[in-house]
Subunit: 180 residues, 2 copies
């Protein structure tokens, strides 16, 4: 079931979400995710299980929602004064976060949930900040899809499927290729 | 636990593997993967659970092993007479297989297992067949890592994380970029 993003408008609904998310985060610190159940989360959050089923449909969608909440970065990408510098700084931080155990688990939860496109929407909004800044500086702009295909995709693919995540040198090569 | 590839040398060990794999495939047709247990697989395969634990370590590693067995293609990539044609044909078949539910589940199992690099080794050997053929024709050759980064990675990334898998037009664009 797709996650209902539209609901996050404050009020009772926002309080329920915050309390359920907090319950999941707390329980995940105490036990393995494979043993987590909806009734457990509901009890900790002080809501009924049916509230959770109605809103998230199934546990995996709730776990993905919590993971995506963490994915959403707190701060705007660093402003280094150039497009290439901004992309390098962003890509290094992204690689660092996603190649950690927390990052891999996040990606696994997201893949297991049926919320296609949520991740790439977050990534697009981040990269758009960088591109808008470059435009104000008068720099030539690559296409946003090109950045996803040539910079983000190889980074994620290597983290999930290759012998090792990309090295910093390889990451810089990807940035240069995306800008070429 | 990493999958012990080295063991596949025929004899008793190969027969155990084949029987356990067949049991997993049969059970997955009858029930959801989330309800599968090691004792169930053992009973169906006619081996003891400890045989499975000793060899695969945990259920997720066994599921990944079965998935990877399916990933390994039965046939060499089609010979269309040119590198570009071979890559297009290969990429279209790969997209078709991986964007199916079976393909997505395979990737999920592989990500959940700790056998880094196994997938990319299979992909490399496939692409190497295509490159060796192109070399015999005297064509200019792209780097194998470039094909993984610019053709395979965006295809997999879009299947797993974007709103939709790449269109055929986008896939052809990726082949052209990898060959540029």
């Amino acid at each position: 079931m797709p996650i209902k993003e539209g609901i996050r408008t404050g009020g009772r609904s926002a309080r329920v979400q915050e309390s359920v998310h907090a319950a999941v985060r707390a329980l995940l610190q105490e036990q393995d995710r494979s043993t987590l159940t909806v009734p457990q989360v509901a009890a900790r959050a002080g809501v009924t299980p049916s509230t959770i089923y109605r809103r998230w449909g199934e546990l995996v969608a709730l776990l993905a929602d919590v993971a995506l909440e963490r994915l959403r970065p707190d701060t705007a990408p660093a402003d280094t004064g150039s497009l290439r510098g901004d992309l390098l700084a962003w890509a290094e931080q992204y690689l660092d976060e996603m190649s950690s155990d927390v990052g891999r688990n996040m990606m696994r939860d997201v893949i297991s949930s049926a919320c296609p496109g949520y991740c790439t929407r977050i990534l697009r909004s981040q990269l758009q900040v960088i591109l808008a800044r470059a435009e104000r500086r008068g720099e030539a702009l690559p296409d946003l899809d090109r950045l996803l295909d040539l910079l983000v995709a190889p980074t994620v693919f290597r983290i999930l499927f290759a012998e090792a995540p990309p090295s910093l040198e390889q990451l810089h090569g990807l940035v240069d290729l995306a800008l070429a």
